[in-house]
Symmetry: C2
Subunit: 345 residues, 2 copies
């Protein structure tokens, strides 16, 4: 575990870094022999022969990636969720993680304990272990940075760039719930029933990384990505690196009953569902000949895998750039969403 | 490279995350095939047969770990320095790193470019490559988190817990320069010449990770640590995990001419030199029979390696706890520094 490099002094209400590590974080590393109980400068990670290490890093900042008053359980779920989702998109088995946490002065022991407890529960769910990190003070908002380590059979990692024209486009689960959940938290959705609202908020607060699906896609998907920026943006990333145009039928994009209820109340929310982020479902492409194999995988991982379109030869847009995503309605008409762009900041 | 998960909108003065990655960070990853040009969800890392991966994470926060107005070059040097120092303390060869950076709103393109340029120079010096990360916005101070990956022959990593009674205690380079440099920056040291002041500040601003020394210590040192919390505190960590008491002779602790000049002006600065952090030298222990081998290594890596004391059987302190570090003067008398404790926050 990293040692203190701070110049902070006299934070009377918090125990020092060593005490925080000993009480709350070292227990999370107890089952990883290479973590040395977080008492050394670094950790060792064993990678089995024939497998390759996969590494991803994501940072979350209070007030930017989650509301300032978010519960410690939700912050932990989001932190683990977004990082394991990246591993899932590569088809990797999660192995371990390091975490750096910058604690604001008003962050009390109860918060840290609840956060660590939730990390412990998530570790069990996902079979991963903390192996190192750093605990520092900050004059700003709570900031957490997680580096997740996984492994995949050499040369079998899922990439974004493997889609070819003719491949079918699939999406797991349902799309848009998380961004609609955020809308509920921020402004509310007038007329939406409590049960639906709770479902949507829960999807925002506790992303479910599709780890088992990712493992099942190895050797089956030609390209994969996790939907974090929004369905259209992320399919755009696949199309760009694969040098294709993704064509999707908006009527086929799977929506939950809660999302359908919200959109029925306010039709503008349909575009938000397609372009908002934080779904952490997997979007992937597969050859049409593998349609049955995808259906079998859906049953195996107990998750809907919905065919929503097809990869096409790359088209140029009006300005000579690559045209990445076509969104069509049920009748095949292009929807204007493609012209509004899709970057959400 | 991690994708945006922010809810920030309309930051007109900054290009979006994808543009920042493409312009400034992707070039840093160009030589790492497993980084996929930072266009995928995660990176792959090859670990050679017979070697084990070593992982360390450290975060730096503006206003806590360095002054708010620190130059981008200095922030980059500190970030790379502190993390590679942890690898050096394990005897690891640096391989790659991931970086998450949280940018405040007032952080302009010029700053980011200078920061990335300096990372590029440091990459060449230390033969490491960026392989992934995350670029996010923050409402607080600049915060950077680096995870460094290295490798070491299986079972040969240097640990903190291997020192035995009778082992000699060594320190590389000189001690206290960085903390005295920080003092110069914060309050000044009255009467200190400009050249000395500049030397000390430079040692604070640009930590030099002792990577080559760490590699040379594999198979030679019985325990090692990098001096980041301060010499006394870090020897305390070695003593604690090795279940020994470290006994050092304060007269033998190597000081630079600049540090000696500062202490001559204000004798209280001697204790600061021993207990202040940020040296990033390596402290290590070795069997007395390896004295000649240590001297040969010093010549090989062109760095003074000074014997400053010896590990002893663990003693109890007055309260029944472990007594970790004895600091004695040239005549062998215990100095009161041990009673003031050594945790620097």
């Amino acid at each position: 575990m990293g040692k203190s490099r701070g110049r902070s002094k006299g934070r009377a209400k918090q125990p020092d870094e060593f005490e925080l590590i000993r009480r709350f974080f070292a227990p999370l590393a107890a089952k990883a022999p290479g973590a040395f109980g977080l008492t050394d400068d670094a950790a060792t990670v064993a990678v089995a022969p024939g497998r390759r290490l996969i590494v991803t890093t994501d940072a979350l900042v209070a007030g930017v990636h989650f509301p300032e008053d978010e519960s410690p359980q939700s912050v932990a779920a989001r932190l683990i969720g977004v990082n394991l989702s990246d591993l899932a998109a590569m088809g990797a088995t999660p192995e371990a993680y390091t975490m750096a946490i910058a604690l604001p002065k008003n962050c009390d022991l109860g918060w840290i304990k609840a956060f660590a407890d939730e990390l412990g529960r998530l570790q069990k769910t996902h079979h991963v272990t903390l192996i190192g990190g750093d605990t520092v003070a900050t004059g700003g908002p709570l900031t957490v940075c997680l580096t997740a380590l996984g492994s995949v059979a050499k040369g079998h990692e899922l990439r974004r760039n493997g889609a070819r024209a003719g491949d079918l486009i699939y999406i797991s689960g349902t799309i848009g719930d998380a961004t609609l959940g955020l809308k509920v938290m921020q402004d509310g959705i007038a007329g939406l029933g409590k049960r639906h609202a709770k479902t949507l908020v829960g999807r925002y607060r506790r992303p479910q990384p599709r780890v088992r699906l990712g493992l099942g896609l190895v050797g089956l998907a030609t390209a994969a990505i996790d939907v974090s920026d929004g369905l259209i943006a992320d399919l755009g990333h696949v199309a760009q690196t694969s040098r294709c145009t993704a064509e999707i039928d908006v009527e086929r994009v799977p929506l939950s009953a809660a999302a359908r209820a919200a959109i029925a109340l306010d039709s503008r929310l349909r575009e938000r569902a397609l372009t908002g982020g934080d779904d952490y479902e997997l979007a992937f492409t597969a050859r049409p000949s593998h349609r049955n194999a995808v259906a079998a995988l859906a049953r195996q991982v107990r998750l809907p895998l919905t065919e929503i379109g097809r990869m096409r030869q790359a088209r140029k847009d009006g300005k000579g750039g690559a045209h990445l995503v076509d969104v069509r309605d049920g009748a095949g008409h292009l929807l204007p969403i493609v012209r509004t762009g899709y970057r959400h900041f």
